[in-house]
Symmetry: C2
Subunit: 418 residues, 2 copies
Amino acid sequence: MAINTNPVRGTRDYLPEEMRIRDAMQNIILRSYLNNGFTKIETPILEDIERLDKSEGGENLNLIFKILKRGQKLDLTKDNLTENDLVDIGLRFDLTLPLCRYYANNRAKLRLPFKVIQIGKVYRAERPQKGRLREFYQCDIDIIGDSTINAEIELIHTTAKTLLKLGFEDFTVRINDRRILFDVILSAGFKEEDILSVCISFDKLDKIGLEGVKEELLQKEFAVENVDKFIASISADNAKGLEGITEYCSNRQVIDQLQVIIDSVEKLAKGKFKIEYDKSLVRGMGYYTGTIFEIVSPEFKGSIAGGGRYDKMIGNMIGEDIPAVGFSIGFERIAEILLNSDKIKLKLEDKRLALLYDEQDSFVDVIEKADELREKGYDVSTILKAKKLGRQFATLEREGFEGALVYGETEIRQFSTD
Amino acid sequence: MAINTNPVRGTRDYLPEEMRIRDAMQNIILRSYLNNGFTKIETPILEDIERLDKSEGGENLNLIFKILKRGQKLDLTKDNLTENDLVDIGLRFDLTLPLCRYYANNRAKLRLPFKVIQIGKVYRAERPQKGRLREFYQCDIDIIGDSTINAEIELIHTTAKTLLKLGFEDFTVRINDRRILFDVILSAGFKEEDILSVCISFDKLDKIGLEGVKEELLQKEFAVENVDKFIASISADNAKGLEGITEYCSNRQVIDQLQVIIDSVEKLAKGKFKIEYDKSLVRGMGYYTGTIFEIVSPEFKGSIAGGGRYDKMIGNMIGEDIPAVGFSIGFERIAEILLNSDKIKLKLEDKRLALLYDEQDSFVDVIEKADELREKGYDVSTILKAKKLGRQFATLEREGFEGALVYGETEIRQFSTD
């Protein structure tokens, strides 16, 4: 009789206490984004399978959940069936492709620059391993239609402010520009068509170290002198900042702009967080065309936010390039940090109260008493009084209730708060 | 080059102005649910296909979006492929089945009664017609583990309060009990196994009228005297309320309980809305076992909320019956009403301000000025000043901005508000 009631592999049920923290976090993020002048939209989770397949989603294209055609569109009698015969829709793997489609579809009604918020679920059919979810939230802000570095400054400033509001401290924004990276690769003697392959190896720096990158590039049979020159350039002293890279990069304007972004963000940061040029920053997505950035915190592994400029993606849809930059907070990563950190504690604003009643009490009267307390700003649960009141109080306190009122009494019993 | 950028058929893009209203509505609903002592959870949109197929979802079972198996699990070389060979996951078509699975899976960690909120997207592969969305929101509250009518009273009271908060007035809660309905059908002479078929015809009362129901029942070749007796019983004077049905129904306890629910809700309503027994209420879902209810408003066609008791559904999963009742607000229906109504106007709480700057202004200084205003409670967008300031003001006002400050000036220009 009993059936398996686990959630689908790679998805999760969230218990009430965890949900409360997650919702409070999403509220802080959304409020901060709105406060900084961004506007919220929503796009469908379903996307045309062709649109997903044609996007520059890199690795994610192999991880799309695909939806079976329905009704007469599904023909299982055909010979040599392929996946393409069977599906017409996929689940979105990020919020950037749907945003570009959204902009393209509604651009007649949108004012540029379009400063936009998306908070929503995305889906990736990852091989389930520890911590790899197949359904998870992303919290993105994007600015469409601004080719100036004001867009970068505002996105970084807003995202950093948001992380500060969540309680994060001492984090660092790392920034780079793909055009510098590509320039460095080309000036080391690689060919244009090798850039991607070099980047893929270079992106593993964190995991395999400089020696590992060198080894992998040599295994790919690139010329030894090119590999050496590249390794030398990226070994240049990071402390020198952008100046350290100029001898390997001819694109002075890009370097100057990056310097203005860094100086501006630094001024706005007022010492609360750092920003630094990181020549080893690659970031995976194929669609980035200029600046790329991420936020790391010394206490926590990996990045907690990431983004960059993608000036060609909308152009691929409408045949006219529209500049765009985005910055995404890795919601599941920061939720994990906040739920397990002793240092960062989220302040929950709601005041929850239990109104305990007897079976003999008139339930209508109990509700009217609850409504009275609700009008005063408490969130009130009516709960049948247990025989062992002390144990019931302990349970309620553990659930996050602030106190309890026994129906008929006048004094609220406040639970101890730490 | 240009590609189709429409959203997937049956899904929608929401423009910023509409999103603002929708989000404000969802906030009001969520805040009201929380204020009334319910707790929020979230379940995955993905569900096991077997679990969906085995559920009592009625018509919805034909409308499931199904997800193709991945990797080696997908074998297209097999002879006589069926849909079942190809899929392992489906998208949820409501929030009730996932809730039951959630409860079953986490029951060791949940206190009963479990008063729970779910606000989320559900999916139905409806034949797209005007207004029929394939991706839409439901806003549900449920009480699991309370077999008493307190659960019904609290759900109806909370849902009605929520609709009042949204600005709805003069609505009516209709209530019935499946056990009365079944009793009436049996006492008319029908057999137990005919109940479902009679209900299906009876559910069409709104559309085809009493004569139409009678005709359809006769076409189904039920005995004339049974049909006549049934039609007579449901033609009994509605104004007599529950008393009018007693002669056709032997289950006195059910009638008495229904009367207490009606009296209790009426007392709590304080004249702000009505509740009435409606013997013609059937409601489609196969899983309801007792009370069923919905909310209608004379001004708007169809119901704006619906629910009922489903005491067997969790038992189907864990082999032990756990009582449960739920009430769901049809979010898309009320969003449609609120967006088009002249009578109901949602009050938006946020104060949005545009900070207009010149290209010559230091963008860092502009952001610092914006931050100053943000600290004061304004949501501030930094926007490049247009040449035609009057036209820009008009655009911003149309977008919902409350006013604008030209950077360098001291006075905020408030837009007229109606």
